[in-house]
Protein backbone atom coordinates (compact mmCIF):
# COMPACT_ATOMS: atom_id res chain seq x y z
CA UNK A 1 0.00 0.00 0.00
CA UNK A 2 1.50 3.28 -0.95
CA UNK A 3 1.13 6.33 1.18
CA UNK A 4 -0.51 8.23 -1.65
CA UNK A 5 -3.52 5.90 -1.64
CA UNK A 6 -4.41 6.60 1.97
CA UNK A 7 -3.15 10.08 2.68
CA UNK A 8 -3.13 11.07 6.30
CA UNK A 9 -3.35 14.78 6.75
CA UNK A 10 0.13 16.21 7.04
CA UNK A 11 1.83 12.85 6.71
CA UNK A 12 1.51 12.22 2.97
CA UNK A 13 4.81 12.05 1.17
CA UNK A 14 5.09 14.90 -1.29
CA UNK A 15 5.46 14.06 -4.94
CA UNK A 16 8.73 15.04 -6.58
CA UNK A 17 8.21 18.39 -8.26
CA UNK A 18 8.58 18.69 -12.01
CA UNK A 19 11.51 21.05 -11.52
CA UNK A 20 13.44 18.50 -9.46
CA UNK A 21 12.99 15.86 -12.11
CA UNK A 22 14.17 18.16 -14.89
CA UNK A 23 17.21 19.25 -12.91
CA UNK A 24 18.09 15.63 -12.21
CA UNK A 25 17.78 14.78 -15.88
CA UNK A 26 19.90 17.75 -16.94
CA UNK A 27 22.61 16.84 -14.46
CA UNK A 28 22.75 13.27 -15.68
CA UNK A 29 22.90 14.51 -19.25
CA UNK A 30 25.82 16.79 -18.45
CA UNK A 31 27.73 13.96 -16.81
CA UNK A 32 27.14 11.72 -19.80
CA UNK A 33 28.27 14.45 -22.14
CA UNK A 34 31.56 14.83 -20.26
CA UNK A 35 32.13 11.11 -20.45
CA UNK A 36 31.42 11.06 -24.17
CA UNK A 37 34.09 13.69 -24.88
CA UNK A 38 36.77 11.15 -24.08
CA UNK A 39 34.97 8.16 -25.47
CA UNK A 40 33.87 9.60 -28.79
CA UNK A 41 37.29 11.07 -29.48
CA UNK A 42 39.02 7.81 -28.73
CA UNK A 43 36.49 5.89 -30.77
CA UNK A 44 36.85 8.24 -33.75
CA UNK A 45 40.62 7.95 -33.55
CA UNK A 46 40.49 4.18 -33.45
CA UNK A 47 38.06 3.96 -36.37
CA UNK A 48 40.18 6.37 -38.40
CA UNK A 49 43.35 4.39 -37.74
CA UNK A 50 41.62 1.08 -38.45
CA UNK A 51 40.21 2.31 -41.75
CA UNK A 52 43.52 3.69 -42.89
CA UNK A 53 45.90 1.06 -41.57
CA UNK A 54 43.71 -2.04 -41.35
CA UNK A 55 44.02 -3.09 -44.99
CA UNK A 56 47.79 -2.72 -44.73
CA UNK A 57 48.01 -5.30 -41.95
CA UNK A 58 49.36 -8.67 -42.99
CA UNK A 59 51.84 -11.23 -41.79
CA UNK A 60 54.52 -9.76 -44.03
CA UNK A 61 53.95 -6.37 -42.40
CA UNK A 62 55.21 -7.94 -39.20
CA UNK A 63 58.13 -9.77 -40.79
CA UNK A 64 59.44 -7.28 -43.37
CA UNK A 65 61.97 -4.56 -42.67
CA UNK A 66 61.29 -0.84 -43.10
CA UNK A 67 62.10 0.76 -46.43
CA UNK A 68 61.93 4.31 -47.68
CA UNK A 69 62.25 3.31 -51.28
CA UNK A 70 59.53 0.64 -51.33
CA UNK A 71 57.07 1.68 -48.60
CA UNK A 72 54.35 -0.57 -50.05
CA UNK A 73 56.48 -3.61 -49.25
CA UNK A 74 57.88 -2.32 -45.96
CA UNK A 75 57.20 -3.85 -42.55
CA UNK A 76 57.99 -3.21 -38.91
CA UNK A 77 59.87 -6.39 -38.02
CA UNK A 78 62.88 -4.67 -36.44
CA UNK A 79 60.71 -2.15 -34.57
CA UNK A 80 58.31 -4.82 -33.29
CA UNK A 81 61.09 -7.09 -32.07
CA UNK A 82 62.91 -4.06 -30.69
CA UNK A 83 59.85 -3.10 -28.66
CA UNK A 84 59.35 -6.62 -27.34
CA UNK A 85 63.05 -6.88 -26.48
CA UNK A 86 62.87 -3.53 -24.70
CA UNK A 87 59.88 -4.70 -22.67
CA UNK A 88 61.56 -7.89 -21.54
CA UNK A 89 64.78 -6.13 -20.53
CA UNK A 90 62.89 -3.29 -18.84
CA UNK A 91 60.83 -5.82 -16.90
CA UNK A 92 63.93 -7.73 -15.82
CA UNK A 93 65.37 -4.45 -14.58
CA UNK A 94 62.36 -2.91 -12.83
CA UNK A 95 60.89 -5.94 -11.05
CA UNK A 96 63.76 -6.70 -8.67
CA UNK A 97 64.80 -3.08 -8.20
CA UNK A 98 61.23 -1.78 -7.80
CA UNK A 99 60.06 -4.54 -5.47
CA UNK A 100 63.21 -4.36 -3.34
CA UNK A 101 62.81 -0.58 -3.00
CA UNK A 102 59.17 -1.01 -2.03
CA UNK A 103 60.05 -3.65 0.58
CA UNK A 104 62.63 -1.36 2.10
CA UNK A 105 60.26 1.59 2.26
CA UNK A 106 57.35 -0.41 3.65
CA UNK A 107 59.07 -2.87 5.95
CA UNK A 108 62.33 -1.33 7.07
CA UNK A 109 62.31 2.44 6.64
CA UNK A 110 61.70 4.28 9.89
CA UNK A 111 59.38 7.12 9.01
CA UNK A 112 60.66 9.18 11.90
CA UNK A 113 63.92 9.65 10.00
CA UNK A 114 63.93 12.63 7.71
CA UNK A 115 65.87 10.92 4.94
CA UNK A 116 63.26 8.20 4.56
CA UNK A 117 60.54 10.81 4.24
CA UNK A 118 62.71 12.67 1.72
CA UNK A 119 63.15 9.50 -0.36
CA UNK A 120 59.41 8.89 -0.26
CA UNK A 121 58.60 12.41 -1.39
CA UNK A 122 61.16 12.26 -4.17
CA UNK A 123 59.83 9.00 -5.56
CA UNK A 124 56.46 10.65 -5.95
CA UNK A 125 58.09 13.61 -7.65
CA UNK A 126 60.11 11.37 -9.95
CA UNK A 127 56.91 9.78 -11.22
CA UNK A 128 55.89 13.21 -12.52
CA UNK A 129 59.16 14.11 -14.27
CA UNK A 130 58.65 14.46 -18.07
CA UNK A 131 59.93 11.46 -19.96
CA UNK A 132 62.27 13.50 -22.15
CA UNK A 133 64.26 14.37 -19.04
CA UNK A 134 64.82 10.67 -18.51
CA UNK A 135 65.93 10.49 -22.13
CA UNK A 136 68.56 13.14 -21.49
CA UNK A 137 69.61 11.33 -18.33
CA UNK A 138 69.92 8.10 -20.29
CA UNK A 139 71.92 9.80 -23.00
CA UNK A 140 74.29 11.47 -20.55
CA UNK A 141 74.86 8.58 -18.16
CA UNK A 142 73.97 5.35 -19.93
CA UNK A 143 74.65 5.88 -23.63
CA UNK A 144 77.73 8.02 -23.00
CA UNK A 145 80.12 7.82 -20.06
CA UNK A 146 80.13 6.66 -17.29
CA UNK A 147 78.23 3.57 -18.48
CA UNK A 148 79.06 4.26 -22.13
CA UNK A 149 76.82 1.56 -23.55
CA UNK A 150 76.10 3.37 -26.81
CA UNK A 151 72.69 3.57 -28.48
CA UNK A 152 71.81 -0.08 -27.87
CA UNK A 153 68.74 -1.97 -26.64
CA UNK A 154 70.09 -2.27 -23.12
CA UNK A 155 70.56 1.50 -22.89
CA UNK A 156 66.95 1.96 -24.04
CA UNK A 157 65.67 -0.57 -21.53
CA UNK A 158 67.57 1.00 -18.64
CA UNK A 159 66.30 4.45 -19.59
CA UNK A 160 62.68 3.27 -19.83
CA UNK A 161 63.22 1.34 -16.62
CA UNK A 162 64.30 4.46 -14.75
CA UNK A 163 61.30 6.23 -16.21
CA UNK A 164 58.72 3.76 -14.88
CA UNK A 165 60.57 2.68 -11.75
CA UNK A 166 58.76 5.22 -9.53
CA UNK A 167 55.42 3.84 -10.72
CA UNK A 168 56.50 0.29 -9.93
CA UNK A 169 57.70 1.31 -6.48
CA UNK A 170 54.50 3.16 -5.65
CA UNK A 171 52.26 0.32 -6.86
CA UNK A 172 54.36 -2.34 -5.11
CA UNK A 173 54.22 -0.40 -1.87
CA UNK A 174 50.46 -0.21 -2.08
CA UNK A 175 50.27 -3.94 -2.72
CA UNK A 176 52.54 -4.67 0.24
CA UNK A 177 50.57 -2.33 2.48
CA UNK A 178 47.35 -4.11 1.50
CA UNK A 179 48.56 -7.29 3.21
CA UNK A 180 46.96 -6.96 6.66
CA UNK A 181 49.22 -6.54 9.71
CA UNK A 182 47.48 -9.54 11.31
CA UNK A 183 49.16 -11.80 8.74
CA UNK A 184 52.59 -10.41 9.62
CA UNK A 185 51.85 -10.74 13.34
CA UNK A 186 50.66 -14.29 12.89
CA UNK A 187 53.84 -15.20 11.09
CA UNK A 188 56.16 -13.44 13.55
CA UNK A 189 54.33 -14.96 16.52
CA UNK A 190 55.21 -18.41 15.19
CA UNK A 191 58.89 -17.56 15.42
CA UNK A 192 59.42 -16.62 11.78
CA UNK A 193 62.07 -13.96 11.20
CA UNK A 194 61.25 -10.61 9.63
CA UNK A 195 62.76 -11.79 6.37
CA UNK A 196 60.89 -15.12 6.38
CA UNK A 197 57.68 -13.21 7.02
CA UNK A 198 58.30 -10.89 4.08
CA UNK A 199 59.38 -13.66 1.76
CA UNK A 200 56.71 -16.24 2.63
CA UNK A 201 53.71 -14.16 3.66
CA UNK A 202 53.88 -10.52 2.63
CA UNK A 203 55.31 -10.90 -0.87
CA UNK A 204 53.06 -13.80 -1.96
CA UNK A 205 50.08 -11.82 -0.70
CA UNK A 206 51.22 -8.71 -2.56
CA UNK A 207 52.23 -10.51 -5.75
CA UNK A 208 49.02 -10.06 -7.77
CA UNK A 209 49.04 -6.33 -7.06
CA UNK A 210 52.72 -6.05 -7.90
CA UNK A 211 52.32 -8.00 -11.16
CA UNK A 212 49.41 -5.81 -12.19
CA UNK A 213 51.45 -2.70 -11.46
CA UNK A 214 54.46 -3.95 -13.38
CA UNK A 215 52.36 -4.69 -16.45
CA UNK A 216 50.74 -1.26 -16.32
CA UNK A 217 54.17 0.35 -15.91
CA UNK A 218 55.47 -1.59 -18.91
CA UNK A 219 52.48 -0.55 -20.98
CA UNK A 220 53.38 3.02 -20.18
CA UNK A 221 56.97 2.39 -21.22
CA UNK A 222 55.96 0.73 -24.48
CA UNK A 223 54.42 3.89 -25.88
CA UNK A 224 57.27 6.19 -24.91
CA UNK A 225 58.92 7.86 -27.87
CA UNK A 226 60.81 10.88 -26.62
CA UNK A 227 63.40 9.19 -24.39
CA UNK A 228 64.15 6.60 -27.07
CA UNK A 229 64.65 9.31 -29.69
CA UNK A 230 66.97 11.20 -27.37
CA UNK A 231 69.15 8.22 -26.62
CA UNK A 232 69.38 7.42 -30.32
CA UNK A 233 66.93 4.69 -31.25
CA UNK A 234 66.84 4.47 -35.04
CA UNK A 235 63.75 4.55 -37.25
CA UNK A 236 65.07 2.50 -40.16
CA UNK A 237 66.88 -0.54 -38.91
CA UNK A 238 67.11 -3.14 -41.66
CA UNK A 239 67.96 -6.01 -39.32
CA UNK A 240 66.44 -7.56 -36.20
CA UNK A 241 68.03 -6.98 -32.82
CA UNK A 242 70.63 -9.59 -31.97
CA UNK A 243 70.76 -11.62 -28.80
CA UNK A 244 73.42 -9.34 -27.34
CA UNK A 245 71.60 -6.32 -25.89
CA UNK A 246 74.80 -4.31 -25.71
CA UNK A 247 75.54 -4.07 -29.41
CA UNK A 248 73.85 -2.94 -32.59
CA UNK A 249 71.30 -0.28 -33.48
CA UNK A 250 67.71 -0.85 -32.43
CA UNK A 251 64.30 0.50 -33.25
CA UNK A 252 60.94 0.54 -31.50
CA UNK A 253 57.37 0.86 -32.77
CA UNK A 254 56.70 4.41 -31.50
CA UNK A 255 59.93 5.60 -33.07
CA UNK A 256 59.00 3.96 -36.38
CA UNK A 257 55.52 5.52 -36.22
CA UNK A 258 56.93 8.98 -35.66
CA UNK A 259 59.38 8.61 -38.49
CA UNK A 260 56.70 7.42 -40.91
CA UNK A 261 54.37 10.24 -39.92
CA UNK A 262 57.00 12.85 -40.69
CA UNK A 263 57.56 11.40 -44.16
CA UNK A 264 55.76 13.22 -47.03
CA UNK A 265 55.08 9.94 -48.86
CA UNK A 266 51.33 9.12 -48.34
CA UNK A 267 52.14 5.41 -48.31
CA UNK A 268 54.20 6.07 -45.17
CA UNK A 269 51.07 7.48 -43.47
CA UNK A 270 49.35 4.15 -44.09
CA UNK A 271 52.38 2.39 -42.64
CA UNK A 272 52.15 4.57 -39.53
CA UNK A 273 48.45 3.76 -39.08
CA UNK A 274 49.14 0.04 -39.40
CA UNK A 275 51.98 0.26 -36.87
CA UNK A 276 49.67 2.12 -34.47
CA UNK A 277 47.20 -0.77 -34.70
CA UNK A 278 49.96 -3.23 -33.80
CA UNK A 279 51.07 -1.08 -30.86
CA UNK A 280 47.48 -0.73 -29.63
CA UNK A 281 46.97 -4.48 -29.92
CA UNK A 282 50.04 -5.13 -27.76
CA UNK A 283 48.82 -2.59 -25.21
CA UNK A 284 45.36 -4.13 -25.15
CA UNK A 285 46.78 -7.59 -24.53
CA UNK A 286 48.99 -6.29 -21.71
CA UNK A 287 46.21 -4.38 -20.01
CA UNK A 288 43.84 -7.31 -20.38
CA UNK A 289 46.52 -9.44 -18.76
CA UNK A 290 46.73 -6.98 -15.87
CA UNK A 291 42.96 -7.02 -15.36
CA UNK A 292 42.90 -10.81 -15.54
CA UNK A 293 45.70 -11.14 -12.98
CA UNK A 294 43.97 -8.76 -10.63
CA UNK A 295 40.61 -10.49 -10.85
CA UNK A 296 41.95 -14.00 -10.76
CA UNK A 297 44.57 -13.81 -8.04
CA UNK A 298 43.76 -10.79 -5.92
CA UNK A 299 43.48 -11.83 -2.29
CA UNK A 300 40.30 -10.91 -0.44
CA UNK A 301 41.35 -10.46 3.16
Amino acid sequence: MSVAEAPLAGLAVERASRGDKVRDLLFRGALLLSLSVGFVTLGALLVDVLIEGGPRLSWSFLTEFPSQIFPERAGISSALLGTLYLMVLTGVFIVPVGVASAIYLEEYADRDRWWNRAIELNIQNLAAVPSIVYGILGLAFIVRDPLGLGAVVLAGALTLGLLVLPVVIVVSREAIRAVPPSIREGSLALGATHWQTIWKQTLPGALPGIATGVILALSRAIGETAPLLVIGAAAFVPFNPGADPTSGAFSAIPVAILSSLSDPDPEQQVLAAAAIIVLMAILLVMNAGAVYLRNRYEQKW
Binding site: S182, E185, L190, G191, K200
Partner: protein, 267 residues
Protein backbone atom coordinates in the same frame (compact mmCIF):
# COMPACT_ATOMS: atom_id res chain seq x y z
CA UNK B 1 48.43 -11.95 47.98
CA UNK B 2 49.37 -15.18 46.11
CA UNK B 3 47.35 -18.18 47.18
CA UNK B 4 48.57 -20.76 49.62
CA UNK B 5 49.75 -23.37 47.15
CA UNK B 6 51.90 -20.91 45.23
CA UNK B 7 55.10 -22.12 46.79
CA UNK B 8 54.82 -25.60 45.33
CA UNK B 9 54.24 -24.41 41.76
CA UNK B 10 56.79 -23.68 39.07
CA UNK B 11 56.90 -20.04 38.11
CA UNK B 12 57.20 -19.52 34.38
CA UNK B 13 57.04 -15.73 34.09
CA UNK B 14 58.23 -13.45 36.83
CA UNK B 15 57.13 -9.86 36.21
CA UNK B 16 59.10 -7.31 38.16
CA UNK B 17 57.79 -3.75 38.05
CA UNK B 18 56.95 -4.08 34.35
CA UNK B 19 55.73 -1.00 32.55
CA UNK B 20 55.12 -0.09 28.91
CA UNK B 21 55.13 3.36 27.35
CA UNK B 22 54.07 4.33 23.85
CA UNK B 23 56.06 7.30 22.66
CA UNK B 24 56.71 8.26 26.28
CA UNK B 25 53.07 7.92 27.35
CA UNK B 26 52.70 5.15 29.91
CA UNK B 27 50.08 2.51 29.00
CA UNK B 28 50.59 0.17 31.93
CA UNK B 29 52.94 0.28 34.90
CA UNK B 30 54.07 -1.41 38.12
CA UNK B 31 53.07 -4.90 37.12
CA UNK B 32 54.50 -7.30 39.65
CA UNK B 33 53.47 -10.91 39.75
CA UNK B 34 54.40 -14.44 38.80
CA UNK B 35 52.69 -16.65 36.25
CA UNK B 36 52.68 -20.37 36.93
CA UNK B 37 53.34 -23.38 34.76
CA UNK B 38 50.47 -25.60 33.53
CA UNK B 39 47.87 -23.12 34.62
CA UNK B 40 45.62 -20.71 32.87
CA UNK B 41 46.22 -17.16 33.94
CA UNK B 42 43.54 -14.65 33.02
CA UNK B 43 44.12 -10.93 32.66
CA UNK B 44 40.86 -9.04 33.06
CA UNK B 45 39.85 -5.42 33.37
CA UNK B 46 38.14 -2.59 31.54
CA UNK B 47 39.18 -1.37 28.08
CA UNK B 48 42.41 0.58 28.01
CA UNK B 49 43.76 -0.97 31.20
CA UNK B 50 46.83 -2.31 29.42
CA UNK B 51 46.14 -6.03 29.63
CA UNK B 52 46.68 -6.56 25.89
CA UNK B 53 49.78 -4.39 26.06
CA UNK B 54 51.10 -6.49 28.89
CA UNK B 55 50.47 -9.86 27.23
CA UNK B 56 52.38 -8.61 24.20
CA UNK B 57 55.42 -8.08 26.41
CA UNK B 58 55.51 -11.79 27.16
CA UNK B 59 56.59 -12.75 23.63
CA UNK B 60 58.08 -9.42 22.64
CA UNK B 61 55.34 -8.59 20.14
CA UNK B 62 55.60 -5.02 21.39
CA UNK B 63 58.93 -4.85 19.57
CA UNK B 64 56.90 -4.45 16.37
CA UNK B 65 55.65 -1.08 17.54
CA UNK B 66 58.64 1.23 17.18
CA UNK B 67 57.40 3.72 19.79
CA UNK B 68 56.81 1.09 22.49
CA UNK B 69 59.29 0.84 25.39
CA UNK B 70 59.24 -1.84 28.05
CA UNK B 71 60.69 -1.18 31.47
CA UNK B 72 61.16 -3.45 34.45
CA UNK B 73 61.97 -7.12 34.24
CA UNK B 74 60.10 -9.83 32.37
CA UNK B 75 61.65 -13.04 33.67
CA UNK B 76 61.02 -16.25 31.77
CA UNK B 77 62.40 -19.36 33.48
CA UNK B 78 64.85 -17.07 35.21
CA UNK B 79 66.03 -15.35 32.01
CA UNK B 80 65.35 -11.69 31.34
CA UNK B 81 63.30 -11.67 28.11
CA UNK B 82 64.45 -8.14 27.40
CA UNK B 83 68.11 -8.91 28.06
CA UNK B 84 70.69 -7.70 25.53
CA UNK B 85 71.52 -11.18 24.28
CA UNK B 86 67.91 -12.29 23.76
CA UNK B 87 66.67 -12.64 20.18
CA UNK B 88 62.93 -11.88 19.99
CA UNK B 89 62.57 -14.46 17.22
CA UNK B 90 63.84 -17.15 19.58
CA UNK B 91 61.44 -15.93 22.26
CA UNK B 92 58.47 -16.31 19.92
CA UNK B 93 59.51 -19.85 19.03
CA UNK B 94 58.98 -20.80 22.66
CA UNK B 95 55.99 -18.58 23.39
CA UNK B 96 53.18 -18.82 20.87
CA UNK B 97 50.31 -16.40 20.45
CA UNK B 98 46.69 -16.45 19.35
CA UNK B 99 45.07 -13.17 18.41
CA UNK B 100 41.73 -11.52 18.89
CA UNK B 101 40.60 -11.96 15.31
CA UNK B 102 41.37 -15.31 13.70
CA UNK B 103 44.23 -14.64 11.27
CA UNK B 104 44.75 -17.71 9.14
CA UNK B 105 47.21 -17.31 6.29
CA UNK B 106 45.68 -17.27 2.80
CA UNK B 107 46.87 -20.81 2.26
CA UNK B 108 45.53 -24.32 2.68
CA UNK B 109 44.73 -25.68 6.13
CA UNK B 110 47.75 -27.95 5.82
CA UNK B 111 50.11 -25.12 4.88
CA UNK B 112 48.80 -22.97 7.71
CA UNK B 113 49.86 -25.59 10.23
CA UNK B 114 53.08 -26.47 8.41
CA UNK B 115 54.23 -22.86 8.13
CA UNK B 116 55.68 -22.66 11.65
CA UNK B 117 57.56 -25.98 11.58
CA UNK B 118 58.85 -25.15 8.10
CA UNK B 119 60.28 -21.74 8.98
CA UNK B 120 61.80 -23.19 12.13
CA UNK B 121 63.32 -26.03 10.11
CA UNK B 122 61.65 -28.70 12.23
CA UNK B 123 62.79 -32.21 11.31
CA UNK B 124 60.32 -35.03 10.93
CA UNK B 125 57.35 -36.10 8.88
CA UNK B 126 55.33 -33.00 8.11
CA UNK B 127 52.09 -34.95 7.62
CA UNK B 128 52.49 -36.31 11.10
CA UNK B 129 53.27 -32.90 12.58
CA UNK B 130 50.17 -31.44 10.92
CA UNK B 131 47.93 -34.26 12.09
CA UNK B 132 49.20 -34.03 15.65
CA UNK B 133 48.74 -30.27 15.80
CA UNK B 134 45.22 -30.44 14.37
CA UNK B 135 44.32 -33.24 16.77
CA UNK B 136 45.56 -31.23 19.74
CA UNK B 137 43.64 -28.25 18.39
CA UNK B 138 40.44 -30.38 18.35
CA UNK B 139 40.07 -29.80 14.64
CA UNK B 140 41.40 -32.95 13.00
CA UNK B 141 38.09 -34.79 12.60
CA UNK B 142 36.43 -31.75 11.04
CA UNK B 143 39.12 -30.99 8.48
CA UNK B 144 41.02 -34.21 7.79
CA UNK B 145 39.26 -34.64 4.44
CA UNK B 146 39.94 -31.11 3.25
CA UNK B 147 43.47 -30.34 4.38
CA UNK B 148 44.34 -28.90 0.99
CA UNK B 149 41.45 -26.44 0.88
CA UNK B 150 41.91 -22.78 1.69
CA UNK B 151 41.64 -21.91 5.36
CA UNK B 152 39.49 -18.89 4.50
CA UNK B 153 36.65 -21.31 3.77
CA UNK B 154 36.37 -22.33 7.44
CA UNK B 155 33.95 -20.87 9.97
CA UNK B 156 35.24 -18.24 12.40
CA UNK B 157 35.42 -20.72 15.27
CA UNK B 158 37.26 -23.25 13.13
CA UNK B 159 39.66 -20.56 11.96
CA UNK B 160 40.47 -19.67 15.55
CA UNK B 161 41.05 -23.31 16.45
CA UNK B 162 43.25 -23.52 13.37
CA UNK B 163 45.26 -20.59 14.73
CA UNK B 164 45.58 -22.38 18.06
CA UNK B 165 46.64 -25.60 16.30
CA UNK B 166 49.08 -23.56 14.25
CA UNK B 167 50.64 -22.22 17.43
CA UNK B 168 50.81 -25.76 18.85
CA UNK B 169 52.57 -27.10 15.75
CA UNK B 170 55.85 -25.43 16.73
CA UNK B 171 55.67 -27.11 20.14
CA UNK B 172 55.80 -23.99 22.29
CA UNK B 173 56.11 -23.80 26.04
CA UNK B 174 53.50 -21.10 26.58
CA UNK B 175 50.47 -19.96 24.59
CA UNK B 176 49.35 -16.38 24.89
CA UNK B 177 45.77 -15.64 23.90
CA UNK B 178 44.66 -12.08 23.36
CA UNK B 179 40.85 -12.14 23.62
CA UNK B 180 40.67 -15.29 21.50
CA UNK B 181 36.89 -15.60 21.63
CA UNK B 182 35.76 -12.03 21.25
CA UNK B 183 34.88 -12.55 17.58
CA UNK B 184 33.14 -15.89 18.13
CA UNK B 185 29.66 -17.14 18.97
CA UNK B 186 28.97 -18.86 22.32
CA UNK B 187 29.19 -22.39 20.92
CA UNK B 188 32.58 -21.77 19.30
CA UNK B 189 33.66 -20.03 22.47
CA UNK B 190 32.68 -23.08 24.52
CA UNK B 191 34.73 -25.36 22.30
CA UNK B 192 37.77 -23.14 22.64
CA UNK B 193 37.37 -23.02 26.41
CA UNK B 194 37.20 -26.84 26.53
CA UNK B 195 40.30 -26.92 24.39
CA UNK B 196 42.14 -24.56 26.71
CA UNK B 197 41.35 -26.73 29.75
CA UNK B 198 42.75 -29.70 27.85
CA UNK B 199 45.84 -27.86 26.68
CA UNK B 200 46.88 -26.68 30.10
CA UNK B 201 48.00 -30.24 30.88
CA UNK B 202 50.87 -29.72 28.44
CA UNK B 203 51.20 -25.97 28.11
CA UNK B 204 50.96 -22.84 30.18
CA UNK B 205 48.33 -20.41 28.99
CA UNK B 206 47.90 -16.69 29.53
CA UNK B 207 44.63 -15.24 28.31
CA UNK B 208 43.35 -11.70 28.04
CA UNK B 209 39.58 -11.61 28.15
CA UNK B 210 36.78 -9.12 28.38
CA UNK B 211 34.42 -11.88 29.33
CA UNK B 212 34.46 -12.31 33.09
CA UNK B 213 32.49 -15.53 33.00
CA UNK B 214 35.14 -16.89 30.71
CA UNK B 215 37.89 -15.96 33.14
CA UNK B 216 35.91 -17.54 35.97
CA UNK B 217 35.25 -20.72 33.97
CA UNK B 218 38.71 -21.48 32.69
CA UNK B 219 41.42 -19.73 34.65
CA UNK B 220 43.33 -20.78 37.73
CA UNK B 221 44.76 -17.34 38.49
CA UNK B 222 43.27 -13.98 37.65
CA UNK B 223 44.89 -10.58 37.49
CA UNK B 224 42.46 -7.69 37.63
CA UNK B 225 43.71 -4.51 35.95
CA UNK B 226 42.21 -1.11 36.24
CA UNK B 227 42.87 2.16 34.51
CA UNK B 228 43.60 5.25 36.55
CA UNK B 229 44.26 8.86 35.87
CA UNK B 230 47.90 9.65 36.60
CA UNK B 231 48.98 12.10 39.23
CA UNK B 232 49.53 14.73 36.53
CA UNK B 233 45.93 14.07 35.43
CA UNK B 234 46.94 13.88 31.78
CA UNK B 235 47.36 10.19 31.04
CA UNK B 236 45.33 7.16 31.92
CA UNK B 237 47.53 4.26 32.88
CA UNK B 238 46.69 0.67 33.60
CA UNK B 239 47.84 -1.12 36.73
CA UNK B 240 47.15 -4.36 38.57
CA UNK B 241 44.68 -4.08 41.43
CA UNK B 242 44.53 -7.67 42.47
CA UNK B 243 46.17 -10.93 41.51
CA UNK B 244 45.06 -14.13 43.13
CA UNK B 245 43.46 -17.50 42.65
CA UNK B 246 40.49 -17.06 40.32
CA UNK B 247 38.03 -18.40 42.86
CA UNK B 248 39.15 -15.86 45.42
CA UNK B 249 39.07 -12.97 42.95
CA UNK B 250 35.52 -13.78 41.93
CA UNK B 251 34.02 -14.78 45.26
CA UNK B 252 35.95 -12.91 47.88
CA UNK B 253 38.05 -10.17 46.33
CA UNK B 254 40.22 -8.19 48.68
CA UNK B 255 39.86 -4.91 46.78
CA UNK B 256 36.52 -3.15 46.43
CA UNK B 257 37.34 -2.09 42.85
CA UNK B 258 37.73 -5.74 41.92
CA UNK B 259 34.46 -6.56 43.59
CA UNK B 260 32.66 -3.77 41.77
CA UNK B 261 34.02 -4.98 38.44
CA UNK B 262 33.48 -8.72 38.81
CA UNK B 263 29.97 -8.26 40.15
CA UNK B 264 29.15 -6.03 37.21
CA UNK B 265 28.60 -2.83 39.19
CA UNK B 266 31.13 -0.99 36.99
CA UNK B 267 32.92 -1.70 33.75
Amino acid sequence: MPSASAASRETIFELGDVGVTYGGVPAVRNVDFGIYEHEITALIGPSGCGKSTLIRCLNRMNDLIPAARVTGRVGYHGQDLYGDDIDPVQVRKRIGMVFQKPNPFPKSIYDNIAFGPRVLGTKGDMDEIVERALTRGALWDEVKDRLKTNAFGMSGGQQQRLCIARALATDPDVILMDEPCSALDPISTGRIEDLMLELKQSYSIVIVTHNMQQAARVSDMTAFFTVELDADEKHRTGRVVEYDATEKVFTNPSDERTEAYVTGKVG
